[in-house]
Amino acid sequence: MDFLESIRFDMIWNYKELFIRGLWVTLGLTAVGYIGGVILGLFLGIGKLSKIKWIYYPCKYYVDFFRGTPLLVQILLIHLAVIPSIFGHSLGYFVSGATALMLNCAAYNAEIIRAGIQSIEKGQMEAARSLGMPKREAMKQIILPQAFRRMIPPLGNELIALLKDSSLVTVIAANDLLYASQVVAGAYQRFYEPYVTVAILYLLLTWVCTRVIAYVEKRYSNSYIPRRRRTFSFSRSSVGG
């Protein structure tokens, strides 16, 4: 029992503010990166379905680049090279980190969104177009609402992956969750406690995400009929107007 007694979680407690701050930074980076990544990914995904070459190729090369290079390299490149060369100075770890995560996440989301759109039967677009709907309107009203349901599981995976990958921003001195544990490790020269703590915290975060995704998935699976009505039978005798 020597081992258990020698565990010193008091040192984590001493640095609790750093961990709490780290938690918020990690959540902030993930949220900004993910929301931006979904929106940008939507445009890239639709762009990759375009028949127009000057739309298709930039989207394709974008996705190829961001999926084909390590996120760590992208973070360093954006923080140390791209942003300073555009703005003349660094904009801080959060802007660099969130930008890198967003751009990277968008590339993966683009593929998910493209595949989701392509999985909708051709007849849906044809039916919408045959009613006189312009392509953009048909995409918005008919295709995307159906495609999004099919995208929920892979987009959920992407969220969890991004949450974990956000720890890479530690390399640009972002004070995220992982950074907090590194500080503790450095200060006490002990490694079990800080890294086990941070692992547990990440596990908790991903667990919460998993539950939320599972709920959303269940809510939007199988049937399009709103839940509150599923048990009803449809007998509406009076014809209204």
């Binding site: 039967e121 007849g123 849906q124 044809e126 039916a127 919408a128 177009r129 045959s130 009613l131 006189g132 709907m133 312009p134 309107e137 009203q141 008919i142 609402p145 159906q146 349901r149 049937s223 399009y224 009929i225 009505r229 449809f234 007998s235 509406r236 005798s237 014809v239 209204g240 107007g241």
Partner: protein, 240 residues
């Protein structure tokens, strides 16, 4: 109303339509019959440009539709289409399936659109299904909703692409009855079908297509009664 001049359509190297000339008059019901792969469906889909035309011209009310200057969405408002696979929008209930196009495209007011939808549902005998979702309907009911949806745009022409081919036999009649009613009311209809009974009874004219051309055309009694072309005779002997 519709005038088609030497229409050609190729998919890559495969030539599907090899010069179709055809005229369809107002209030006419034209049934297109023929073996699978003869190009019937492609021909129909060219009429509202779901297929890009390779060569030739299609005029609707004097407007050349396969012209880059023509706004195809404007043309499609006037040409309703019913598909073999129904293609109802599964994420919307029956009412929204019918009202979305009038509301979004014709800019019809909500109340007016719902009113129209109920009228059309009554016409196809499905007033009580307005709140149902497509997955709760049978094939025959779905196809009747699809007809109502197309009619909601108040089209001048209705195209039917094998509307009963995906249905269980006992549901074919309910769909054909709705189509007959439409024909009686004077809708201009082009119907690609395997229902020879419908073609014979309701068709003003029957086109027999094979290998990408119209092999024979005439009134139902001419085409079914005394087919002149040997291909027509051969086809009819197999299906009748």
């Amino acid at each position: 109303m519709i005038k088609i001049n030497s229409l050609y359509k190729s998919f890559g190297n495969l030539e599907v339509l090899k010069g179709i000339d055809c005229e369809i008059n107002e209030k006419e019901v034209v049934c297109v019959i023929g073996p699978s792969g003869s190009g019937k469906s492609t021909f129909l889909r060219c009429i509202n440009l779901l297929e890009e035309v390779t060569d030739g011209s299609i005029y609707i009310d004097g407007v050349k539709i396969n012209d880059t200057k023509t706004n195809i969405n404007e043309i499609r408002k006037e040409v309703g289409m019913v598909f073999q696979q129904f293609n109802l929008f599964p994420h919307m209930n029956v009412l929204n399936n019918i009202t979305i196009a009038p509301k979004r495209i014709r800019k019809m007011h909500e109340v007016e659109a719902v009113d129209l939808a109920y009228q059309l549902l009554e016409k196809v005998g499905l007033q009580d299904k307005a709140e149902a979702y497509p997955e709760q309907l049978s094939g025959g009911q779905m196809q009747r909703v699809a007809i109502a949806r197309a009619l909601a745009m108040r089209p001048k022409i209705m195209l039917f692409d094998e509307p009963t081919s995906a249905l269980d036999p006992e549901m074919v009649k309910e769909v054909l009855d709705v189509m007959k009613q439409l024909a009686v009311e004077g809708m201009t209809m082009v119907v690609v079908t395997h229902e020879m009974g419908f073609a014979r009874e309701m068709g003003d004219r029957v086109l027999f297509m094979d290998e990408g051309v119209i092999m024979e055309e005439g009134t139902p009694s001419e085409v079914f009664g005394q087919p002149k072309n040997s291909r027509t005779q051969d086809f009819l002997s197999k299906v009748l």
